[in-house]
Amino acid sequence: MSRQDLSPGTIFRMPLVLALLSLTGLVGALLADGVWDWIGTALLATIIVTIAWARLGRRR
């Protein structure tokens, strides 16, 4: 690994956070109704928000 290489922790930090948020959303909306449907939807929608952020931010 050269000096510029990112560590696996850095590479996978955000994907791991997104995976945890989306799984919480998927299960939360299944286990409870009402407000949890909205919370679950919002948590799963963090994926869409991230894609939009990457696209609009045009990160290089």
């Binding site: 690994m1 510029q4 290489d5 990112l6 696996p8 590479i11 996978f12 930090r13 955000m14 994907p15 997104l18 995976a19 945890l20 989306s22 799984l23 998927l26 909306a29 299944l30 286990l31 409870a32 109704d33 949890w36 449907d37 909205w38 679950g40 939807t41 799963l44 929608a45 994926i47 869409i48 991230t50 894609i51 952020w53 990457a54 696209r55 931010g57 045009r58 990160r59 290089r60």
Partner: protein
Amino acid sequence: MKTRTLRAWSWVHKWSSLVSTGFLLMLCLTGLPLVFSDELNHALLDEVWTPADPDGAGLNLDQVLAVALSRHPGDVPAFMSFDEDRPVVNVTSRAPDAPAGQFNFQPIDQTSGEPAPLVAGHPVIEFLLQLHTDMFLGLPGMLFLGLMGLLLIVAVVSGVVLYAPFMRRLPFGTLRLDKAARTRWLDWHNLLGIVTVAWVLVVGTTGVVNTLATPILAYWKDTALAELTAAHDAPAAPGEWASLDAAVDRARAALPGRTLQFVAFPGTEFSTDHHYAVFLHGDTPLTTHLTTPALIDVRSGQLAAVAPSPWYVKALSLSQPLHFGDYGGLGLKIVWALLDLATIVILGSGLYLWLTRRRRAS
């Protein structure tokens, strides 16, 4: 990661993806409208309807069944289900010599016995569902699609492994939109693939479990329900069947506080040859998806057993909402559809990356 290891993972990712991509694209495309099947059925089929005699005593379930079978003489009943928001009983029957999967479906106004309009099962939606479920090939088609689902899981896992070396010098979320088309699509493929990984694994795994519905139910019948059927030799003829209405009442009494979902008649995959299987579900968000069958001896009409579902039947029951995303309202469905579209882009970009690489190599 050593070059050799990287090549091995790359090989796994390439072939697990290539073999399954065409079928996964079909599943994503047919799955997209199926996410909104309730809304589409509502829009395509909805018509103003009121029951003929809303204040009348109504027909009991035996009478409803008799009316349904009189419209299809010679049919044997398979299932009976109940609308939640109108007094309609849905009777599914089939001719004894009909090909597998060919049924007659009749919604019946329980207040009068007259036919009620369909609110589900529009032919276009049914076509898409059948294509999505088994490609009109029955069990072999289902199992084949299950295999494609397993390949998807392998492709996702190998894709995650390959993500690290590709991204070792790029910050998360990088999209090099000013670079060549191949680089742009590689970045889109990596970004969409890694952010949707948990959702794709859930939908893929639950899809695989759903393809195993027939063997799972057959195993359940052969093991957990085997004792109940051992005492009988031959199936009871429909003329020997006890009252269905009384059977449902007994099932309700055995499982108080639960809601009637459907009845499976003897000889169907959800019952034995000797029982009405009366399925009731709970009333919490989770237990709404979990049904418990009360088995009523079809000859005597007595309760034979309440058969709590084993873990593998519960897994099958929970796999259905987690696969179709129809449990959290319209907002969740919209997000589900967007993630489905993202998966289509992942599949398409993967195919593009493979084709351009081949072209370059040649």
